[in-house]
C-alpha cells in the first residue's frame, strides 16, 4: 500500500507549491485527508490533518483547521505515546487566535479552550508565554482593550522557548496593543525594527503596515501612511486571510478621500467578505464599506459596480442606488455588531459603528 503514501505525498507537495490564499491549496490538502481517511490509515490521517492546519488558517479557512485540529487532539488524548503533543502545540496558537471571529462560539467556550491550551502547554513542560500572546490577539478582536495590554505584559513575564511566536510577531503584537490603546506615537516608535525591514516573517510587516495606517494619520504623518498603504496593500491583497487588514486599508482610503481606489478594493474583496466563515472579519469589511458608501452617497445617487452574483442586492446591469446599498450594509453591520457585542459582553463594535464618521485628528497625539 505504499502507493497511497506516494499519492498523499504528491498531493501535499503540490499544495506546498501554491501560495497561501489559493483555494486549490486547501482542496489538495483536504483530498489528501480524504484519501487517508478512506484507507483508515490513522498515522496518515493524523499527518495529513497536521499539514492542513497552518495553510487553512493562513488562507482564511480557520473553521476547517478547527475541525482537523479537534480530531488530532482526540487522537492525542486517546494515545499520547503514539501522538506526541508537540505536533499540535504550535498550531494551538493559530487555531485560537482567530476563534473570536466566530460569533456562534460562546465566551465560555473560548475561555474553556484557552484553559485547555494553558493546561496542555503547562503539563507538557513548556512555557505558557504563547498562551498569553494568543489571548492578547483574541482580546483585541473582542474589543477588550485593557486586557490586550495586560496579556502582552503577562506574556513578557514568561520565558521564550521553542513555541513562542517569532520575534517579529511578538513585536507586532506589542505594536498592535499600543495602537489599539490609542498610544499612537509609541506604537510607531516600537515598530521601528519591523518598518526598517530588519524583522519580518510570513505575516509581518504585512499586518503591521495596515495596523499603523490610522495611527499615522492621527499623528499627521500622511506621507508615511501613504507609503505604507501602497507597500502594505500589495502584501495582503492576494489572501483572504488578511480581510481584517484589507478593511483597515479601506478605512484609510476613506479618510484620505481616495474613494475611487476604495471602490476598487470594495469590488475586489467583497466576495471574500461575503463567504468568510470568520464573521468578525466580515463585519470589519462591511463597516469599512459602509463608511465608503456613505461618503459617496453624499455626492452621488447611483453607481456602476461589479458585484458578485450571490450578493443580496445583485443587479445584472451593475447599476446600484447608493442609499439602498448603504441601508443594507448598515443593517448587516448593526446585526453583526450586536451579535459580537452580546457574545463579548461589551459595546465595542456598536460603538465603532456609531463612531465611523468621526474625522481623524491631524497632528494630534
Amino acid at each position: 500500500m505504499a502507493d497511497i503514501e506516494l499519492q498523499i505525498a504528491q498531493l501535499v507537495r503540490q499544495a506546498t507549491y501554491l501560495p497561501d490564499g489559493a483555494p486549490a491549496k486547501i482542496q489538495l490538502l483536504e483530498e489528501a485527508i480524504q484519501l487517508a481517511d478512506s484507507h483508515q490509515r490513522v498515522e496518515l490521517q493524523y499527518q495529513t490533518r497536521l499539514e492542513l492546519l497552518s495553510p487553512a488558517v493562513f488562507s482564511g479557512y480557520t473553521e476547517r483547521a478547527i475541525t482537523a485540529f479537534t480530531w488530532c487532539l482526540g487522537q492525542i488524548d486517546q494515545d499520547p505515546q503514539r501522538f506526541p503533543i508537540e505536533n499540535v502545540l504550535w498550531n494551538f496558537k493559530h487555531i485560537l487566535e482567530d476563534i473570536a471571529d466566530y460569533p456562534q462560539i460562546s465566551r465560555q467556550q473560548i475561555d474553556s479552550m484557552f484553559e485547555d491550551m494553558h493546561k496542555r502547554y503547562h503539563d507538557a513542560g513548556y512555557s505558557v508565554r504563547p498562551v498569553y500572546t494568543t489571548r492578547a490577539k483574541t482580546a483585541a478582536r473582542m474589543g477588550e482593550i485593557a486586557a490586550v495590554v495586560e496579556y502582552v505584559e503577562e506574556m513578557q513575564r514568561h520565558p521564550r522557548d521553542y513555541f513562542a511566536d517569532c520575534a517579529a510577531c511578538e513585536l507586532h503584537m506589542h505594536v498592535e496593543s499600543l495602537a489599539i490603546a490609542g498610544r499612537y506615537a509609541e506604537a510607531v516608535q516600537q515598530a521601528g525594527p519591523i518598518l526598517s525591514g530588519r524583522m519580518g516573517c510570513a505575516e509581518v510587516p504585512h499586518v503591521t503596515y495596515a495596523h499603523l495606517l490610522m495611527p499615522l494619520l492621527h499623528l499627521g504623518r500622511e506621507d508615511q501612511a501613504a507609503e505604507y498603504h501602497r507597500t502594505g496593500y500589495r502584501l495582503v491583497s492576494e489572501n483572504r486571510a488578511f480581510l481584517l487588514e484589507l478593511a483597515q486599508h479601506m478605512v484609510y482610503l476613506v479618510q484620505v478621500g481616495e474613494w475611487a481606489r476604495g471602490l476598487e478594493m470594495f469590488e475586489r474583496h467583497l466576495p471574500w467578505a461575503m463567504t468568510s466563515a470568520a464573521v468578525l472579519q466580515r463585519l470589519q469589511f462591511y463597516l469599512a464599506s459602509l463608511s465608503l458608501l456613505e461618503r459617496l452617497a453624499a455626492g452621488e445617487q447611483r453607481l456602476k459596480l461589479r458585484l458578485p452574483q450571490d450578493f443580496a442586492l445583485y443587479r445584472q446591469d451593475g447599476d446600484y442606488a447608493l442609499d439602498t446599498l448603504c441601508t443594507w450594509f448598515l443593517q448587516q453591520c448593526e446585526t453583526l455588531a450586536a451579535q459580537f457585542d452580546d457574545r463579548n459582553g461589551n459595546d465595542y463594535y456598536r460603538h465603532a459603528l456609531a463612531a465611523r464618521h468621526r474625522p481623524v485628528m491631524r497632528g494630534g497625539a
Binding site: 480524504q34 487532539l73 467556550q109 485547555d116
Partner: protein, 613 residues
C-alpha cells in the same frame, strides 16, 4: 600631522557589516562606484575626456595582499578630503549616514568606510583637476587615526586608493575573487576597467549591453545570445523593455520552463550601469514571473544599502510601464505568431492567467488561448466556446472531481474552475464579452441534467424510492431516481460544499471531548441548509430489478447498501454508523441469500452445477 576621526568607527563598521551590506565584497563595488562618479564628474566639465579605471592586485613588502584602484577622474583637493572626513564625523545614525550618499563627497567617504571591512589600512592619493591643486595623500587606520599631507611629485589628475588586506580577509583579495566580483558589479559599466595581476591584464567589462544602441532595435538573435552569456540559459524568446519613468532600458527573457509560482520573479538590475542586485523582485509586476529580466535604471532611488529600490511613486510608475511592455509583447505575439504564443502559454499559463485577471485589455486578447481542464479534456477556452454558448463551470475542485466522470458520460461540457485564477477568469467573461456568460454549476443541481423518468416509470419506482427515502433519513441524505450514463453506475452520491464540511465535522466530533465537541457543533450549525443526496440510476439493470421487489424491508436494506457503495466509489470516508451499516448489511444480505435459496431448495447456479447435479 596626526588627527583622529571624530566618530566611533568600530561601531559604524559593525553597523555596515551586520545591518546593511550583504557582505564585505561590496567594498569592490564601492571603490569602482567612487571611481565612476569621479570620471562622470570630470566628463561633465571636460566633455570628450577619455576616462578609465585600473585595478591592480599586488603584495606588500611584508607579503600581505593589497589592492590598488586608480582612476583619471576629477580628483579631490585637500579641502575636499577634510570635507569627507568631517561628513563622516558628523553622522552617528544609519539614516543620517546614508543620506550623505546623494552628495559626491559624502558618497566618497562612505564608500571608503566599507573598505575597513577588509582592510588594515587605507591610503588615498589624489590630485584634483581643478586649478593648481597639489596632490594629497591621506592614510587612515581602523583605530580612528589618520594622517594627511601634501604629496610631492607631478601626479596627473585623478585618484588612487590603496588597501592593505587585514588578517583573515585574504580571500577577498584573491585575483579570481576580485575578477568575478568586479565583473558581477561592473560588467556593464561604460568606462573601461582593467584588472592587473602581475603582468596579466584582464578587461573587466568587455561587453556593451545591447540596449545601449539607442537607434535601432537589436536583432532578436543578438538579444538571445546576450541572455545566454549573462544567465547561462537558452531562453524561449526575448523582448526589449523600456520605461520613461525611472529611465529604464533592458531585456525581458521568456523562461523555457515554468518556475515555482511561489518564487517571485528575480531580475538582474543595474543602477546607472552598476549592478544593484541579482534578485530584485519589486521592479516588475508580480505576474511577470515567466520572464527573467536584465535592466538598467538611471533614475530610480536605491535603498541605503544600494541593493534594492525604494518603494516610492517613481518605482510604481516604472513597474506599471514595464508591465505594459510585457503585455504589449504578448499582444503582438497573438497577432503575428500565435503558434509561438501557444508554446509559451503551454509553459507559463499561470502567469498569463494572473495577468489576465488584473488587466481587462490583456484578457480580451489572450483568454481564448488559455487552457482549462474540462470534462472533455484539457482545451483552450476558445475551443470550449466553439461548442458551447454558455461557460459552465464547477468552482470547487473537490466537487468537480465527484461529478467529472458522470458529466463526461453525459457529454456535458463542464469546466473545472477549482484552480487558482480560473473561477475569476470565467466570472469576468461576460463583462469583457457581453452576451457570453459563465454559469457556476452546483453539483447538487447536477441531477437536473439527468433524464427524468416517464410517468409509468415513476409509478413503477415509487415503492423503491419511498423505502429508500425512509431508510436514508437517519443518514441525512435525500433520495432521487433519474436516468443517466454510465449505465453500470447504480447510484451517484452528491455532496455540496456545506454538506461536505458538516460531514468532516461529524467525523471529528466522534473523537473529541466535551469542550471541543461543543465548539464543533456550533460551527456546523451555522452552515445552514445543506443536504447530501444519492441519485439512483434507472438505466442500471440492478436498479430495474430492485424496483420490482415487494419486500419493503429488503428494499430499504438494499438502498442503504447502495448508498454506502456510492460513498465508497466517490472516495468519501465512512463515518462510524456507515461502517456499521456496511458490516451488518453485507452479512445480513449473505444470510438472506442463503436462507432464500435453501427455502426454495435451489442451488446457486454456478458453472459447476451440472457436475454437482
Amino acid at each position: 600631522m596626526e588627527h583622529s576621526f571624530q566618530i566611533n568607527l568600530h561601531g559604524i563598521i559593525k553597523l555596515l557589516s551586520e545591518h546593511l551590506y550583504s557582505g564585505p565584497q561590496v567594498y569592490i563595488r564601492e571603490l569602482i562606484q567612487n571611481a565612476v562618479d569621479a570620471l562622470r564628474a570630470r566628463g561633465k566639465r571636460e566633455p570628450g575626456h577619455s576616462g578609465n579605471i585600473e585595478i591592480e592586485l599586488r603584495r606588500g613588502a611584508d607579503g600581505r595582499p593589497g589592492l590598488m584602484i586608480q582612476d583619471n577622474g576629477i580628483g579631490l583637493t585637500e579641502a575636499e578630503v577634510h570635507q569627507f572626513l568631517s561628513v563622516i564625523g558628523k553622522t552617528s545614525k544609519t539614516a543620517e549616514l546614508f543620506e550623505q550618499r546623494d552628495d559626491f563627497i559624502g558618497q566618497f567617504g562612505i564608500g571608503l568606510l566599507s573598505c575597513f571591512l577588509v582592510a588594515e589600512r587605507i591610503c588615498v592619493v589624489t590630485r584634483s583637476m581643478q586649478g593648481d591643486a597639489a596632490a594629497v595623500r591621506w592614510q587612515g587606520l581602523p583605530n580612528g587615526t589618520y594622517t594627511i599631507e601634501e604629496e610631492a611629485g607631478q601626479m596627473a589628475p585623478g585618484t588612487v586608493v590603496i588597501l592593505e588586506c587585514k588578517a583573515g580577509a585574504e580571500a577577498y583579495f584573491e585575483p579570481d575573487f576580485v575578477l568575478r566580483t568586479a565583473r558581477d558589479y561592473a560588467g556593464l559599466l561604460d568606462y573601461p576597467i582593467q584588472l592587473r595581476a602581475g603582468e596579466r591584464y584582464t578587461r573587466i567589462n568587455p561587453l556593451a549591453p545591447p540596449w545601449r544602441e539607442e537607434a535601432e532595435q537589436p536583432a532578436k538573435a543578438a538579444l538571445l545570445e546576450f541572455g545566454r552569456e549573462q544567465f547561462g540559459t537558452t531562453f524561449l524568446d526575448a523582448t526589449p523593455l523600456r520605461s520613461a519613468a525611472g529611465q529604464v532600458a533592458g531585456i525581458a527573457y521568456v523562461l523555457p520552463f515554468a518556475p515555482r509560482t511561489v518564487a517571485k520573479g528575480s531580475h538582474r538590475v543595474y543602477l546607472k550601469n552598476m549592478l544593484l542586485a541579482d534578485n530584485v523582485d519589486n521592479l516588475l509586476p508580480d505576474w511577470a514571473f515567466f520572464v527573467r529580466c536584465i535592466v538598467n535604471a538611471n533614475d530610480l532611488r536605491p535603498t541605503a544599502s544600494r541593493e534594492s529600490f525604494y518603494e516610492d511613486a517613481q518605482l510604481h510608475e516604472t513597474r506599471a510601464a514595464l508591465g505594459v511592455c510585457l503585455r504589449d509583447y504578448l499582444k503582438e505575439l497573438a497577432q503575428s505568431d500565435p503558434k509561438r504564443l501557444q508554446e509559451i502559454i503551454g509553459i507559463h499559463f499561470l502567469a498569463m492567467k494572473a495577468l489576465a485577471v488584473e488587466d481587462e485589455e490583456f484578457y480580451r486578447i489572450i483568454i481564448d488561448f488559455l487552457p482549462f481542464e474540462t470534462t472533455m479534456g484539457r482545451i483552450t477556452l476558445g475551443e470550449y466556446k466553439r461548442h458551447n454558448r454558455v461557460l459552465r463551470f464547477v468552482p470547487v475542485l473537490d466537487q468537480y472531481r465527484q461529478v467529472a466522470q458522470v458529466a463526461a458520460a453525459q457529454s456535458m461540457w463542464l469546466i473545472n474552475a477549482g484552480y487558482v485564477y480560473d473561477a475569476d477568469l470565467l466570472a469576468m467573461h461576460e463583462q469583457v464579452f457581453p452576451g457570453c456568460r459563465a454559469e457556476a454549476v452546483d453539483v447538487g443541481a447536477l441531477t437536473h441534467e439527468f433524464t427524468e423518468l416517464s410517468a409509468d416509470e415513476r409509478k413503477a419506482a415509487f415503492r423503491f424510492l419511498n423505502a429508500a427515502d425512509r431508510a436514508l433519513t437517519e443518514y441525512s441524505c435525500d433520495a432521487q431516481v433519474k436516468k443517466f450514463l454510465p449505465e453500470q453506475l447504480p447510484a451517484l452520491f452528491i455532496l455540496d460544499q456545506g454538506a461536505s464540511f458538516v460531514r468532516s465535522v461529524e467525523q471529528s466530533k466522534e473523537v473529541s471531548d466535551a469542550v471541543w465537541g461543543g465548539v464543533l457543533e456550533r460551527l456546523a450549525e451555522s452552515t445552514g441548509q445543506t443536504q447530501a443526496s444519492v441519485c439512483f440510476n434507472y438505466n442500471n439493470p440492478l436498479i430495474q430489478k430492485l424496483v420490482k421487489l415487494e419486500d419493503e424491508k429488503l428494499l430499504g436494506k438494499c438502498a442503504t447498501l447502495l448508498y454506502v457503495q456510492a460513498l465508497l466509489l466517490g472516495h468519501h470516508p465512512l463515518n462510524a454508523k456507515e461502517m456499521q451499516l456496511l458490516n451488518t448489511g453485507l452479512l445480513d444480505l449473505i444470510e438472506w441469500g442463503i436462507d432464500t435459496q435453501s427455502k426454495a431448495g435451489q442451488v446457486w447456479p454456478t458453472s459447476n452445477s451440472k457436475l454437482l447435479n
